[in-house]
């Protein structure tokens, strides 16, 4: 913030000494460059979300092919009520995914990162391998994985295929999908945390080591606090992400995964991309609003909690 003020003062000084015409050119430059991004923002963020809000109260007429406000403005929300049984199952699935990805995944990733941070030589190798799954297209990794668990695992362990839409029991499908999603997702997290750890000034670590702090104390008192803001960012983003996470189901099954293994994110995406999907758009928008409302509380709580660790 201070930089901002200083810069302002400097600018005023320069403005005084220079001719006024120069100043106008500057403003013009500023406006020209700002115009497109702002217009883009106005249409594709403000406009889209406003329209989404309106849509939640509309219906679709397939004959006139347009959205309209019917007599019953709450019709889409009533439909949510009617479908609440399966939606709650999907919500539960989303929360399970969120819990495992955000908490279990994070704990393991932070510990991995610490190890890599402390053992630089082996760390380079681990880092290289860990990052491969995030470099390769997710669809490609899941394709390899699916072929493996449907071909090799059944033969090796004389079991059923683990990721077959019909043959595999639904709870197994879900567990395998969640396992796969977390298993594949480590890389990015580890990269983020090792990045944050490397920012710690070496003198702090040295001081801790000179003080004779044990590795555990060093981790707990020095390293962990310094990555907490990063963890916080990750967890906060994870709340909204929970409703977008498709657990790779679209990669595995396309649009036809069984309803009881679906997450909210998968369900909304697969319905949105369906042929003739317009008829469901108002319902999906209403569902989106409900999910946004649900997501706001934990997001704010997590933000408040992690804001403490900054500065």
């Amino acid at each position: 913030m201070r930089g901002h003020i200083e810069e302002g003062q400097r600018m005023r000084k320069i403005a005084k000494t220079k001719v006024k015409r120069k100043f106008d050119k500057k403003l013009l430059f500023y406006i020209v460059l700002m115009a497109f991004p702002l217009a883009q923002f106005a249409v594709f963020y403000v406009g889209v979300n406003f329209q989404s809000l309106l849509m939640a109260f509309q219906q679709y007429d397939s004959f006139e092919t347009h959205f309209y406000f019917g007599n019953d403005l709450l019709i889409n929300f009533k439909r949510i009520g009617e479908e609440i049984g399966s939606l709650l199952v999907m919500l539960k699935n989303s929360v399970i995914v969120w819990f495992f990805a955000s908490f279990v995944g994070t704990v393991i990733a932070v510990l991995f990162s610490y190890y890599i941070y402390k053992h630089k030589r082996l760390g380079i190798f681990f880092k290289f391998v860990l990052f491969i799954p995030s470099i390769l297209p997710a669809v490609l990794m899941s394709s390899i994985f699916q072929n493996f668990v449907n071909n090799i695992v059944p033969v090796a362990f004389d079991s059923i295929r683990l990721m077959d839409m019909v043959e595999t029991p639904l709870d197994v499908q879900f567990i395998v999908a969640v396992f796969y999603t977390i298993w594949i997702g480590f890389g990015t997290q580890v990269l983020l945390y090792t990045g944050a750890m490397e920012q710690i000034s070496p003198s702090v670590i040295e001081a801790a080591e000179l003080d004779g702090a044990s590795p555990f104390r060093e981790f707990w008192n020095v390293v962990l606090p310094s990555v907490l803001p990063t963890i916080g960012t990750f967890l906060v983003a994870g709340v909204a992400g929970a409703f977008l996470n498709q657990v790779n189901l679209f990669n595995f099954f396309g649009g036809s995964a069984n309803w009881s293994v679906r997450t909210i994110g998968y369900h909304m995406f697969s319905m949105s991309q369906m042929k003739g999907g317009e008829v469901d758009y108002p319902f999906l928008s209403a569902l989106g609003i409900c999910c946004t409302v649900i997501a706001i509380v934990p997001t704010l709580l997590l933000r408040r909690y992690f804001a403490k660790f900054e500065e």
């Binding site: 679709y60 007429d61 397939s62 004959f63 006139e64 092919t65 347009h66 479908e83 049984g85 399966s86 199952v89 077959d164 839409m165 019909v166 043959e167 029991p169 639904l170 396309g254 036809s256 069984n258 309803w259 009881s260 369906m274 042929k275 003739g276 317009e278 008829v279």
Partner: protein
Amino acid sequence: MKKILSILVSVVLCMGIAASAGCGGTPSAGEVAGKTNITVATYNGGVGKDWLEDAARAFEEQFAERSFEDGKTGVAVRVEFCEGADMMEEQNLNKDVYFTELFDYYTYVNKNKVADISGVVTTSLEEVGEPGKTIEGKLDQSFVDFLTAKDGNYYAIPFYEGFMGFIYDVDVFAQRGYFFDEDGNFTGDETKRSLGIDGEKSWDDGLPETYSDFQRLVDKIRGDNNITPIIYGSDAVGYFYKALTNWWSNYEGKENMLKNWDFTGTFDIVTGFSGDKPIIGQYTFGTDIASDVRELQKQPGKYYALKFLKEIVCGNANNYESLQYQEAQEAFIASRVPGEHGYAMILDGSWWENEADLYGAFDAVSYIDYNYDPSGADYKHTRRFAFMPIPLVDEVAESLPAGQTHKQTLYSGNDAFCFISSNTTGAKLDVAKLFLKFLHTDEQMSAFTARTSLTRALNYEMGDADLNNMTYFGKSVMEMKQSSDIVYPYSANDYYLRNSSNFVLERWGWTSKVGGGTEDNPFVTFVQDANVTAADYFRGLYEAH
């Protein structure tokens, strides 16, 4: 760094230009001088464009001497591929005639993307050599009602249709003795086959007539070595609910089935169960259509279709096996080859043979099939595949008066249509219209079927020469079409038109609430949970809508 950036910027600019040149195209390029040129585009969803090239050449020849504009004689038709209609709806349509899929008729009509072709549809085809006939006369009433609902005009004509069901290998049935004779015993002798449901010598001879016949057949096949009754594509389990819809239609008959889209009159519903027998009552549409339509979920045909799936197909886990889609087709084709594991039937659509051929499955099998003599006809034409008729519910078969037969009812929900772009004007429009007329003569539609083994969604007769050129399977599809009533899921009912997307099969057909959750594929549900009965799933249909 700056260099890298500037290279990147120029690369993307070049690409942008390349991309825009790629999609825009210049319709005038490659036109034949001295003739009136039109461009025809078709969607490449397994039908290919060879049939259209053939038709275009025949059309050019027939009208080589006719002048449509000053200083030009004859026509030139260029054939290209186009996208699915859902992708083109915002584009400037710069070709003249389109054959495409995923077509939402009223989106195109409301956006003024399509030309009025009422004249083409309603006037005589005399000009193109078929006096006394019109395209309208070849259309099913459901299409006529739906297409003209806006302002009485036609803006599109249905393209091809697709049927779904069990397809069997005639030779495997003969080798292994899976046909029924007149006494209901199994036989491999094709001359001793029973006359089937229609009671006359035709495509359904020697095949199961009732649910219990089908059960006997499946049990027999399962008891044999090295053969599985049914194979399906593991990534095409959606085919099951399309097949279910056929079984449902066959029970209801055309008139009752159409209630699902025209919402008028009285129809049968299941009011309850006594034991596992449904109690059948009736329901009549009143004024509150929005709530009345739900009653359609109680149509008895739905229950019996589910019963067939649950008790016969899923009655034993060894009845069926899955492979990936094309592997399944290939394995099915290889069934008659000694030493290969056999599959008596495949669950697939009427396009399967054409599709398997495109992917090279017939070629692959021909190398291992020592019965095949490569010096003769090509492999596909030596093979005999055909659709199984849909078996009757036993109660229905029993209640048929002696001597009376049952006509099969099939469902064809396919949003493939052809139309002329509203950008086409003047002489091009005249030629485009004439070309559409030309393509809808019996002769041309017959040629289409001979080429692709697919049928057009109109009524027409096959030419003898075309019939002789067809594969056994192609002939069987055409024979089945001509001896069946076909239900097209369209109507002009206002409630239907305004909510039509809710009545497509994916939404209206088989979504059910079972045990608190929602299911949309009965086959998956029955395999996953052995405790769910056909009646459970059936009751859930009403709950879910």
